[in-house]
Amino acid sequence: MMSSEAIILAASNFALVVLGVSFILTVFRVVRGPTLPDRVLALDMLVGIAIGFIAVIAIKTSYTLYIDIAISLGLVGFLTTVAFARFILARGVVGEKPKEDRPVLRPEKEKAAKAKARAKTQTGKGARA
């Protein structure tokens, strides 16, 4: 049977690795994100992951003053997102052509093709009749 300290240590090490992976994935969206609101959203998400990091470090070091730092970081992140939303509202779509960076999902495409084929056969029948 593992001792309680070993359980906490293993869980916090696992959490650090998983949070690092999610941090990298979110940074990838910040770099790639086709429009400004995508980047703002990903930065908001980065603040959330940083709060998670601070919480795990607080557990590992058992230094609970980190909670206050996490709360103030959350406040700063909220204000940043609100300010960026106001800025997007004031700026408009400038200099970027917003387009989806992913194609239409394949089931949707198949459904559209099927509907088109059905319509064609129906009109063909109508012409014959």
Partner: protein
Amino acid sequence: MSVVFALFTALLIVGGSLFALVAAIGINRLPDLYTRMHAASKAGTVGSGLLLVAVGFHAGDIATLSRALAGFFFFILTAPVSAHLLAKAAHQVGYPLSRVSVLDDLKKSGE
């Protein structure tokens, strides 16, 4: 008893970090801004909130636990507000929805 308590805290830690990972995957996989917002503001908030609650339970005194719960409550309160503001600003300015989305109620009502 302390082992059970440690297992509960470890469950909170692992669950919170996995919620953060799900949010990060969603922010990369979903097709447009308005769907990415679901991943970022729901799963991301729950992830960091669970980790904060885990800090409160691990410390084991009522002052730390109440501060952690206050932080969790604060995040739950502010995340939908910021996500709604960002989505409303982006929609009003004219960032388009993904092609797979089927309904745009704000557009129909004439903004």
